[in-house]
Each structure stands twice: as structure tokens, then as C-alpha cells.
């Protein structure tokens, strides 16, 4: 982190996180991190035509179907979030 950021970071961190979805922070939970990873991966599969073809061939589905299912899975790729402990 550059020195300039070090002083301004705290005030702007929240803003930055809102702006750049998917960036991590110190208090990131394992679940959040994993969900981000999966969403990034799924978006990358849909975004790269070769990867979509690759999956479609392996799975015997149409490319349109693969894209659809991948986008659907982005909603909750790693199941529901863990329960937060009260204490």
C-alpha cells in the first residue's frame, strides 16, 4: 500500500469496496472469499468463449445452457452463508 493510501485508505475503504465488488479486506470471512472466488470464476467461464465451449463439450450440453446455468449459479455458488454466532 502506498503511503498516500495508508492515510486515506480507512476513510475510503468502504467506498472502494462498494465500487470494486469482489475486492477483499482484513475481516473477510472464508465464506465471502469463497463466494467471490466462485462468482469470479463463473463470470470468467461465461466471458471466455473457449472455456464455455470446453465445458459444453465435456458435459454434452448446448453452450447457451452452460452460460445460463453458470450465470444462475452466480446467485449463490457456495450454498447459504454460515450462521453468525451471537457472542
Amino acid at each position: 500500500m502506498s503511503s498516500e493510501l495508508r492515510y486515506t485508505a480507512n476513510t475510503q475503504l468502504e467506498h472502494l469496496h462498494a465500487r470494486y465488488t469482489g475486492t477483499g479486506h482484513a475481516d473477510l470471512t472464508k465464506y465471502d472469499w469463497l463466494t467471490h472466488q466462485h462468482r469470479d470464476t463463473l463470470a470468467s467461464i461465461v466471458g471466455h468463449p473457449t472455456l464455455t465451449s470446453f465445458l459444453a463439450i465435456a458435459d454434452g450440453e448446448a453452450m447457451g445452457r452452460v452460460k445460463f446455468e453458470m450465470t444462475e449459479r452466480m446467485l449463490q455458488p457456495c450454498g447459504p452463508p454460515p450462521r453468525k454466532d451471537e457472542d
Binding site: G47, I57, A62, P81
Partner: protein, 1213 residues
């Protein structure tokens, strides 16, 4: 090691296609994206054939394309969304025949990221704005307009972001001239991310949201947002807006929301209409499986519109909307036809449908009718309560149709596509071929093919007839200068000449004025209406009234060589003298007063055509026995003076001067080339300077083993040169660049142009005593494809060490095997159900096979004879078993007898990978390899994905385990195992006792087998994770690997480590060494790295040219075939790398991606030069070419020569 990457065959998959008037002419064109390449296609309305106008690499990944036209304009522009973080507007400039970047606006980081727009594009139908969207959150709207000079302008972006929304699709609404509106299909995940009970997830709604661009306020607002079907995946624009001239409405506006099993018509403040997507009435159809629409196209005609939607099975549905002004009365759907599943559909106004298939060949169909009055059942929303929306949560009763062969469409053209290439082999098995062929396993499902690719142009023969003797030359000629077609065919034999007249039939004629008792040296239509024949003893000038003027050779001499054009004749006598004739204005042939003594026997002569509007061509090229070529002036000022001289390495056998266009040398006018064929089969091509007659820029090429003959011909009304040696080659101009390609046909002894009514663009050739008339239909293609159909997706194939057969395994997921199908049908019959045999027996290559649940497989083993191009034997696998790997193993305990081992698994699931049992099936070869005899089957605990022969035994990668098996009586016997691999072993290679193991996720490991202790030890691996897809050993310590993200890289093991491991007899040393980075004790070093942009499916180390260097040839999923060529010298590396650097700054990518960052997508480029970028040097404007060449201290010709030499010597292409 430094490599030069060169694409031999660019990707053929089409990821998206758009239609529009891109050239601004009346004709519609199609722009297709090949993922990393843009191509403009022009369908010919008359012939229904598609031709490529231009294609250019974009050095980036194209994710979306859209066409738009400014209000009142006549020309369409293309907008490109890519991974460059930029929006680019392209214009096709027909003058220069290139794409021009009009605007390039940066909005984000590069890369196909989740929140950087580029994935979806939607344009306003009136061309006023465009929305570009990411997969999540980000949507930007740009306003498009004209400035005072009528240039296209683009505004700064307006944000229409919505946090934590996943975007499924966007589309521009047709609202006429009201404020532009866009519809988006979004799902919000913020609640599901917070709710541990999963209830929010289950209740998550998919919203159809309208965004309005307020042109007055310059602002985007969310206008309207309503939940729609949760399984919606696609939006289609519905026409709307008022017609300017009347108060009628074009349509109701709004969108079609394509959902699983349903289509919904939806618009703000309007009732919804819903119809089911009709399903196939097939006995094996699974009614619980949803059906989605994967491609859609809307077509507007005068006063009407309709939609064609395509389901994932390939069925097209015609959807129509009945409306009164803006009120929708009914939504109707019916089955239209079945075509291959498309990635994009385009309807042309001229009545064609372009289907860019997601896999396999693309098609152009012509509409025969629009399915208006047939008996196909139609489903209307009025037939259901509340237009099908009574209970939006529950499904409408299923609708069915009966699939049938095409009724509304007919195939007009087919574009060959290799996509996907799943495996390949490179070897020379075809007889009479001096270059290896590439055999590829292509396609998916029932449309799969096995293709043989040969370098060369396809030749289409139309006539072949036997002649009485063996002629040594053939000509055709017109009678008059302005005739459209040729009238005579003249054949020269050793002792005579035969003249045939071309009419309804081709027959011999006598009274033509030609001398028939002597052989002929040249034939020419000369002047306005005269003919000329050169024979060894004279020249006959046959006038139109059949009078003959004959010039006779002095006693004791003969003519040995002659060259002619419309006004000039030069002959060489046996006394090594040149005699020059020229036609005067009265049509008389006059001999020049002097003869030129050459001092050495003349072997070949050539003059070019008379340039338009001139009297004569000023240069004559003379090839002499003393291994020289001289350029002699024919200018009246200096007639027969020698201008320049070039020494050769062998006596010339033919010379041909031709004016041809080559944009890399001169963009505006043809260049005069002197082609010199030598007796040793080498062709020299030099450029003749039109001003001073000097020969420059010599390029050489080896054509074959026989002395070369050169013939000037016409190909598509442009001059071209046929070069005949032990192979026939054609040198022609295509898309303004010069190509040199062999013809895939019998060798010719002589050939000439042939133009008749039935074949206006033909060629005529003689081969032995056979006369052949032929055409070259597909100019510009470099590889000729011959294919044989397969049943299922090919997975792998191998060659046999002693016979020429190929053994291939095929398998398809979610497809029932033949045995399961017949069992199921029998069961249904027993239950008393009637089976519609016609539907069951529909050809699967068109209709596909019914989809079965995950874990169902159909698979077979096929034996292919590549020479005969046919299937020799087919062994289906039963019991839901699918084949994944195969190897031919000479088992040492059986005395080296060859066995085929096929790795299969039953009830396999892909993710996570599981199977009820894996098997290693062992077969013996019967019938000289044309058959297989089953021996036994060995169970394994996981899917065997890789098999290989190793020291008389079998090495198998079974899931995570690497094992060595030996053959037993009833089973294969496991001898040794290593289970340290992390995910799954996918590739294996070996040399000596070393085994290279490619892991699905963890790159390549080096293992060694130590027989004394029976140990299988991993001693080196890679320090980076790599998702290996293909691998080949370059040498004992070096491996080239392709990964799943489109990279190719080379890893090398330290030779010291290699020696140390080889010297350790028992492997105890390795066993006790400490691992590094939680892996093996030694790491390989990365030598080269390059991003290709297409997933490599196979790599081979081969030599593509007879006697040429070995190169690495790779094939990729989307149909790319390329090579990596090692540089020979340090100077070459420096030169080409500097050129590449200059090209990077000069040639900016069409999508705005930085070439260097594209080639270093995941890891920076290392020691690989991008040859595709360097080769665009030929297309640069002349000033830029010379400035770059100046920086390199070379001439433009030298740079071009170097590039051509790199391509030709390594690939022959």
C-alpha cells in the same frame, strides 16, 4: 530457446454474428466473431454462396458484437465489447477493405472480469444509444449522434449500475422516437448472501428492469422493475413505435422473455402473454427436463414481424404476435424447422438465414416459405386462461410437435469449420504425398467428423477425356480479341499438332490454318482477329480470312523457344539468336532488323502482357544455358540491348513475367514479377523494376523434384501463375495479398486457362494422355478438408505402429447408448405405448439425440482407414460405459504382441468426477488390425484418463494414481503405484525410463521408474499450478504444455538433475530428498510462455516440409492450428523481436486490447514472438512499412522476405 508463433489456420468457431449494411451499399453483409478474429462475409444473393471479404486478428477476446445505424443513415456500424475494458465502434471501409476504428472509449480494466462491462451489448433500434453491461452490477450507456460534419460521435458514459445484481441479458427496447429504453434481466444476491436459512435464496426473484435514457436530462433512470420467471435467460426485442407517415404502430413494443419451457411477452403496464415452448414428441424425451431458448432473431418486413427462436435441441420456432396498435391480442408459437444449434442467427432481407453453429460447420439457408399455411400445430396464448398467466409459478400443459426434415428452409451454402478439434495426429500416410497430413477429430455429438487436412487448394474436375497420344503442351485461344470465350484447344504432340474446337461438343477441326504436321511451341490470339502459331520451323500468322503469312526459319536452324503476347513475338533460334517481331498498326507482323546473339543456348523466354493503352511491353526475360537470366529491352530506343543480368544456381527451365497485385509491395497497382523456374525444381521470384529494368527482391521456393514449367493463367479475372513440377502450384492474388499454394490434384505435364460458357473460370491440363478441365472453387483456403462422419464426440485417437489404421474412442455425456435406447423402446412397447418409428429414426446428425440425465453415456471404439477415408469397424460400448483413454501396448510377457487397451468407466459423472467403476479393456488385434478381439476387463477405482505403453507394460493414470500394469491371463496386473498426484492425471509421455505426467490442475511432473526396487518416483515438478490439456516432449528434459486458459509454455529440467536421477540405480536418493514447496525435490524452469487465446487440445513435434526443421504444431478447440518455430540464430531473434516491437506500436488492436498484455494474459510472454502480428506488416501502409524497415536497417523487401521465409521454411504454407 526462442520461438516464433505462427497461426496456420485461424479459429473457425463463430461465437457471434451480426448482419447489416456495413459497406453502405445496398447489399447486406455479416460480421462474424471467431473469438479472437473478426471476419466480414458477403452472401451472394444470386448464387447463395458466402464469401469472405476480409478477416483480421484483433489480439483480444471478443465477447459481444452489435450492429447499429444512426437515424436516417444507410450504413451500419459494428460495436465490439471485448476484454479490453473499452468499447469500440468499427466501420468497414470498402475502399481500403479494412475495419476502421471510429471510437474507442475506455471504461475499465482489461480482462474478462465480472464487473467490467463488455459481456452484453444492446443498441437502441433507432441508433441513438448503446448499453454495454458486465456480468454483474455495471451497465454503461453511451449516446451516439452525428456532429455537423455528419461524423459519428459518442458521449461520455452514463452509469446505470445496480449493486449486487447478476445480469442475465440486456436488450434495447423499440420505443420509436421516444427516449431510448433498455431492458435487463437481473437477479439481486444481496439478500441471499445474508440469509443463512437459504429462504432468501429460494425466494430470489429475477427482475425485468427497464432503464430509460432521458435524452433531455442526459441521465439514465430505472423506469420500471417487475419480477418475472425465475428461470428466464434471454430477452428479445419486440418492434414498437409509431410509423412516421401514419399513426399506425409498428408493433406493441416490449420484450419476449425466454424462460425454461415458456416464452412470455412482457411490457410495462400491459398484460402478459405466455406460451409453452413446444417439445419434441419423442418416446425417449424426458419431460422433467427443461427446455431453453439459446438463440433468437427478430425479423421485420413491411408491416409485419416475426421471431425465430432456437431451442437447445436445434429446433427453430416461429413466434408471432397479434396486436392492435399497442395492445397485444395473442402470442403464438409453432415449430418451424430444425437446424444445427446456433450461437447466433441472422436473417437477411434477401431471404436467407445464416446459422453460425456453436460447433461444426456453419450454414446459410434460404427461406422457401415462412411456415404460414402448413399443418404444424400452433400454440396461442389465447388458448390458456388469462393468456397463460393465471398462475405464473406453475407450468402450462406441455405442448408437443413432431420433428421433421426441413420444410421451410433449404441449404444454400455450408462453411467448413473444424471447431472443436479434440485430438489430432500429424503424419504422412497418403500415397503420392511429400508433405504430412493433419488428421483431426472434430465436432460434437452426432455432427462429429474425422477430417483429413492437406495443405493445398481444392480442385474441382469437370471434364476428363483420353487423348490418342501423349501431348507435351496444351493451349486454348479465342478467335477474336473481343470474344468472351475460347474457341480452340491446341494440343502439341512430338510430331504434330491437333486442333479441337470448343462448341456444344469438343471435336477435331482441320481448316484452322494451323500447321498440323509439326509440334507447336506457342499459340497466341494476336491483333484484333488473327491467330499465331509458332512451330520449330517458322511462325504462322493466320488472318481472319484464313490467309496465312508464314515466316520461315533460315536453313539449318530451328526455333527452340518462343514467347508471345497480343502485339509482340520473340523467338530463340537453335543458333542462340533472338528474333523479335512486333505487330504494326496494319496488323502485319514485322521482324526487327537485327537479331541478337546470346552466346549461350536459350532455354526459356518470357514477355509480359501488353499494358493497357500501350503498344508493347518494354522488357524481355531470357534464360540461357550458362545459368543466367537477362533482361533485354524491347523499347524502340534501345531494342534488344541487355539491361540486367541475374546469375542462377541451375539452368532455368521456364520464365514467366506477370503483372500481379501484391499489397505488401505496392497497394495501388500490380507489380511486375519475373518468375524463374529452374531445372532442379527451385522457383525464384524477383521483382522487375519498371523504370530501370533491374531485378530486385529475389525469393526462392522449392516446388518439387521435376524441372519447373510456368504458365500465366487467369483466375477470377486476375493474372495468376501455375507452376508445374512434381507438384502443381498456383501463385495468385487473394484479398490483395499474394498466395502460393499447391493444388491437390494429379500432377500436370502442362496446363492453360480455359474459358467456355459452362466453365468461364476454368483451367485445362494434360496429365499423361488424359485431358482434364477443372476449376479451383475455394481460393484463399490453405487446407483442404475431407471428412468422414462419426457417431459421438471423438475423444482421442491413436495410430498403430505397423499398419495405417487409426483407433478412435468416441463418447457423449447425457446421451443413451444404442443398447439402452433399444431396451427402453422395448420396455415402452411392452407397456403398450405406440412408438413413432419415423421420429425415433430421424437422422441424429441433424436432429441430435434425445437428452438423457447426467451420468448417462454413449460410447464406441472405431477403427478408421485414413487412406480409403472410411470406417473399418465399430465396437459400441454397452452398460453405460464410456471410453476416456486408449493405448497400444506391446506387452513384453506376450513376446511384444500388440494389444489395444481402452480405459473406460461406467456411470461417470463429470463434476465432481465419480464413476461406479473404471475399467481397462484389453483387446487383441485381428485381421491385420482391421478388427479387435476382446480379451479381458480390469476394474479400477477411478476413471482412467490417460494410458501409455511403457517398457513392454502399460502405464495408466487412474484418477489421482499413476500405475504400471502388466498383462495377465484374466486381468491386467498392477505392478507399482504412485499416488502423490493432486487432482487427476490427464496426459502421459515417456522417453527411456522417464515418465512425464500431466495433472489436470497441477502442471507436469517428471517421474522415473527404477526397476531394481520396482519404484515409481516423482523427482521434479512445476512451481506453478497449470491446468494441463495437452503435452508433448520436446527433448529428454524439455516439455511443451498447453493449458485450459489458452496458454502454451515450455518447461525444462536442469540437465544436472536429470543426470543425477538417471545415475541413481535404485532411486533411493530421490526417495530421501526433501521436497520443495510441498512438491517434488526439483523444479522445472519456465523457458517460454505465450497466450494463444484458444485451448490447445494436442501438440506434436513434427516436420511439415520434406527435409525441413522440426516445429511444434498445435491444434486448438476453436479450430486454430498453429506452429511454434524455433529461431536458428540470435540475429533472427533480435531482428524479429524488434520488428514485433515496432508492430505493437503501429498496429493497434481492433478491440483496443494491448497486444503485449493479450499475449501475456495470465503470465507475461516469454521468449515467443507473435508471428501473426509481425505478418500484418504486409498490410501496413507503404510509408509505415518503410519507416519500420528503416529503423531495422533493412529494406521493406528484405523484411517481407524474412517473414515469408520464416513461414515457408517451417510450414510450407
Amino acid at each position: 530457446m526462442h520461438l516464433y508463433n505462427l497461426t496456420l489456420q485461424p479459429p473457425t468457431a463463430v461465437t457471434q454474428a451480426i448482419v447489416g449494411n456495413f459497406s453502405g451499399a445496398r447489399q447486406q453483409e455479416i460480421i462474424i466473431s471467431h473469438g479472437t478474429r473478426l471476419e466480414l462475409l458477403r452472401p451472394d444473393v444470386q448464387t447463395g454462396k458466402v464469401s469472405t471479404v476480409i478477416a483480421s486478428d484483433v489480439f483480444g477476446s471478443i465477447r459481444s458484437l452489435a450492429a447499429f445505424r444512426l437515424t436516417g443513415g444507410t450504413k451500419d456500424y459494428a460495436i465490439v465489447g471485448s476484454d479490453s475494458g473499452r468499447i469500440v465502434i468499427l466501420d468497414y471501409d470498402p475502399k481500403t477493405s479494412s475495419f476502421v476504428k471510429l471510437h474507442q472509449e475506455t471504461f475499465g480494466k482489461s480482462g474478462a472480469r465480472r464487473i467490467v462491462p463488455g459481456q452484453y451489448l444492446a443498441t437502441d433500434p433507432k441508433g441513438r444509444s448503446v448499453m454495454i453491461s458486465a456480468m454483474e452490477k455495471a451497465k454503461l450507456v453511451y449516446i451516439l449522434n452525428r456532429d455537423a460534419a455528419a461524423n459519428l460521435t459518442i458521449s461520455s458514459p452514463l452509469e446505470a449500475h445496480k449493486n449486487s445484481a447478476i445480469i442475465h441479458h440486456i436488450v434495447g427496447l423499440d420505443v420509436g422516437f421516444e427516449n431510448p429504453m433498455f431492458a435487463a434481466l437481473e437477479v439481486d444476491y444481496s439478500e441471499s448472501d445474508q440469509d443463512p436459512t437459504g429462504e432468501a435464496f429460494n425466494n430470489a426473484e429475477k427482475m425485468l428492469t427497464y432503464y430509460e435514457l432521458d435524452l433531455g436530462l442526459n441521465h439514465v433512470v430505472r423506469k420500471w422493475s417487475e419480477p418475472t420467471d425465475t428461470r428466464a435467460n434471454l430477452l428479445v426485442q419486440v418492434p414498437g413505435g409509431q410509423v412516421a407517415s401514419s399513426d399506425r404502430f409498428d408493433g406493441p413494443s416490449g420484450v419476449l422473455v425466454c424462460c425454461e419451457d415458456h416464452i412470455i411477452y412482457r411490457h410495462m403496464d400491459a398484460p402478459q402473454h405466455r406460451v409453452p415452448i413446444p417439445r419434441r414428441k419423442h418416446p425417449l424425451e424426458d419431460p422433467s427436463r427443461g427446455l431453453i431458448i439459446v438463440a433468437a432473431v427478430m425479423h421485420k418486413m413491411k408491416g409485419a414481424f416475426f421471431f425465430l427462436l432456437q431451442s437447445e435441441e436445434g429446433d427453430l420456432y416461429k413466434v408471432t404476435i397479434e396486436h392492435e396498435d399497442e395492445e397485444v391480442k395473442a402470442l403464438k408459437i409453432k415449430y418451424f424447422d430444425t437446424v444445427p444449434v446456433a450461437s447466433s442467427l441472422c436473417i437477411l432481407k434477401s431471404g436467407f438465414l445464416f446459422v453460425a453453429a456453436e460447433f461444426g460447420n456453419h450454414f446459410l439457408y434460404q427461406f422457401q416459405k415462412l411456415g404460414d399455411d402448413d399443418y404444424e400445430p400452433e400454440f396461442s396464448s389465447t388458448a390458456y386462461p388469462s393468456f397463460g398467466m393465471e398462475d405464473p409459478k406453475s407450468a402450462l400443459p406441455s405442448a408437443y410437435f413432431r420433428p421433421r426434415p426441413l420444410e421451410n428452409l433449404v441449404i444454400a451454402d455450408e462453411m467448413e469449420s473444424l471447431d472443436p478439434i479434440l485430438d489430432s495426429k500429424v503424419l504422412n500416410v497418403l500415397p503420392n504425398s511429400d508433405a504430412p497430413q493433419i488428421f483431426t477429430a472434430c465436432g460434437r455429438g452426432a455432427r462429429s467428423t474425422f477430417r483429413t487436412l492437406r495443405h493445398g487448394l481444392e480442385v474441382e474436375e469437370s471434364v476428363s477425356s483420353d487423348l490418342p497420344g501423349i501431348p507435351n503442351a496444351v493451349w486454348t485461344t479465342k478467335r477474336r480479341e473481343d470474344d468472351a470465350f475460347d474457341s480452340y484447344i491446341i494440343l502439341s504432340f512430338v510430331n504434330g499438332t491437333l486442333v479441337l474446337s470448343i462448341g456444344e461438343t469438343i471435336e477435331e477441326v482441320q481448316d484452322t490454318g494451323f500447321l498440323s504436321s509439326a509440334p507447336t511451341l506457342a499459340v497466341q490470339q494476336i491483333g484484333a482477329d488473327a491467330l499465331l502459331q509458332v512451330h520449330p520451323h517458322g511462325i504462322r500468322h493466320v488472318l481472319s480470312d484464313r490467309r496465312v503469312n508464314e515466316w520461315r526459319v533460315p536453313e539449318g536452324k530451328t526455333i527452340v523457344s518462343a514467347t508471345t503476347n497480343k502485339r509482340q513475338v520473340v523467338v530463340a533460334l537453335s543458333s542462340a539468336e533472338l528474333v523479335y517481331f512486333e505487330l504494326d498498326l496494319d496488323g502485319q507482323l514485322n521482324e526487327y532488323q537485327d537479331r541478337k546473339a546470346m552466346g549461350s543456348t536459350v532455354l526459356a523466354l518470357s514477355i509480359g502482357e501488353v499494358p493497357e493503352g500501350r503498344q508493347r511491353t518494354p522488357y524481355l526475360a531470357v534464360g540461357c544455358e550458362d545459368q543466367t537470366v537477362r533482361i533485354i529491352s524491347l523499347d524502340p530506343e534501345s531494342t534488344l540491348e541487355t539491361i540486367s543480368l541475374q546469375a542462377l544456381t541451375a539452368p532455368p527451365s521456364a520464365i514467366c513475367i506477370a503483372d500481379m497485385l501484391d499489397a505488401s509491395i505496392n497497394k495501388s497497382q500490380p507489380t511486375m514479377f519475373v518468375n524463374i523456374g529452374l531445372q532442379n525444381g527451385v522457383l525464384l521470384r524477383t521483382v522487375l523494376d519498371p523504370i530501370n529494368g533491374q531485378l530486385t527482391d529475389t525469393r526462392t521456393r522449392f516446388l518439387g523434384t521435376r524441372p519447373i514449367k510456368l504458365i500465366r493463367v487467369q483466375i477470377q479475372r486476375n493474372p495468376a501463375i501455375l507452376a508445374l513440377s512434381s507438384r502443381s502450384w498456383l501463385n495468385y492474388t487473394h484479398q490483395n495479398l499474394m498466395h502460393f499454394t499447391p493444388l491437390i490434384f494429379e500432377n500436370f505435364d502442362y496446363a492453360w486457362s480455359f474459358s467456355a460458357e459452362l466453365s468461364p473460370e476454368g483451367l485445362i491440363g494434360i496429365a499423361g494422355s488424359v485431358l482434364r478441365i477443372f476449376q479451383i472453387p475455394k481460393l484463399g483456403t490453405k487446407l483442404k478438408q475431407d471428412s468422414i462422419p462419426l457417431s459421438y464426440t471423438p475423444r482421442k485417437f491413436i495410430t498403430h505402429p505397423s499398419n495405417h489404421y487409426f483407433y478412435m474412442i468416441e463418447g457423449d455425456h447425457r446421451v443413451m447408448g444404442e443398447d439402452a435406447v433399444s431396451k427402453r423402446l422395448d420396455e415402452l412397447r411392452r407397456q403398450g405405448k405406440t412408438i413413432d418409428d419415423e421420429v425415433v429414426n430421424l437422422p441424429p446428425d441433424v436432429f441430435g439425440r434425445p437428452k438423457a440425465p447426467a451420468g448417462t453415456w454413449a460410447s464406441c471404439i472405431r477403427i478408421i482407414d485414413p487412406i480409403e477415408a472410411k470406417t473399418v469397424a465399430l465396437i459400441p460400448l454397452e452398460g453405460n460405459e464410456a471410453a476416456f483413454s486408449l493405448a497400444i501396448v506391446p506387452f513384453a510377457v506376450k513376446g511384444g504382441e500388440l494389444h489395444l487397451v481402452v480405459g473406460t468407466a461406467a456411470d461417470t459423472f463429470i463434476a465432481p468426477r465419480s464413476c461406479s467403476s473404471g475399467f481397462l479393456r484389453t483387446y487383441k488385434f485381428t485381421n491385420d488390425g482391421a478388427g479387435l478381439e476382446f480379451q479381458h476387463k480390469t476394474e479400477t477405482d477411478d476413471v482412467p484418463l490417460a494410458l501409455m505403453a511403457f517398457q513392454g507394460r502399460l502405464v495408466a493414470g487412474v484418477g489421482k494414481a499413476l500405475r504400471i500394469y502388466d498383462i495377465g491371463k484374466k486381468k491386467l496386473l498392477r505392478k507399482v503405484e504412485n499416488k502423490t498426484f493432486s487432482s487427476a492425471i490427464v496426459t502421459l509421455s515417456t522417453q527411456g525410463s522417464r515418465i512425464l505426467v500431466g495433472d489436470m490442475q497441477e502442471s507436469v511432473s517428471f517421474a522415473v521408474y527404477k526397476p531394481p526396487e520396482n519404484r515409481l518416483l516423482v523427482f521434479a515438478d512445476d512451481s506453478q499450478p497449470r491446468w494441463v490439456t495437452a503435452m508433448a516432449m520436446v527433448d529428454y528434459n524439455t516439455v511443451v504444455v498447453g493449458d485450459r486458459f489458452g496458454n502454451v509454455f515450455i518447461n525444462r529440467l536442469d540437465p544436472k538433475v536429470s543426470d543425477q536421477v538417471d545415475d541413481d540405480p535404485t532411486g533411493a536418493g530421490i526417495l530421501h530428498e526433501k521436497g520443495i514447496l510441498m512438491g517434488a525435490p526439483h523444479k522445472t524452469k519456465l523457458l517460454c510462455h505465450f497466450h494463444i487465446g484458444d485451448i490447445i487440445t494436442s501438440i506434436h513435434k513434427v516436420s511439415l516440409v520434406a527435409g525441413g526443421r522440426e516445429v511444434l504444431l498445435y491444434t486448438c478447440l476453436h479450430g486454430t492450428i498453429g506452429i511454434l518455430v524455433p529461431f536458428i540464430s540470435k540475429e533472427d531473434v533480435d531482428f524479429i523481436s524488434t520488428l514485433e516491437q515496432h508492430m505493437r506500436t503501429e498496429q493497434s488492436s481492433l478491440v483496443g486490447r494491448d497486444q503485449l498484455s493479450w499475449r501475456g494474459y495470465y503470465t507475461p510472454v516469454k521468449a515467443v514472438v507473435d508471428g501473426d502480428l509481425c505478418e500484418t506488416y504486409a498490410r501496413l501502409p507503404g510509408t509505415k512499412q518503410s519507416s519500420i524497415a528503416g529503423e531495422l536497417d533493412r529494406t521493406v523487401g528484405e523484411v517481407l522476405k524474412k517473414l515469408e521465409q520464416l513461414r515457408v521454411t517451417s510450414s510450407g504454407f
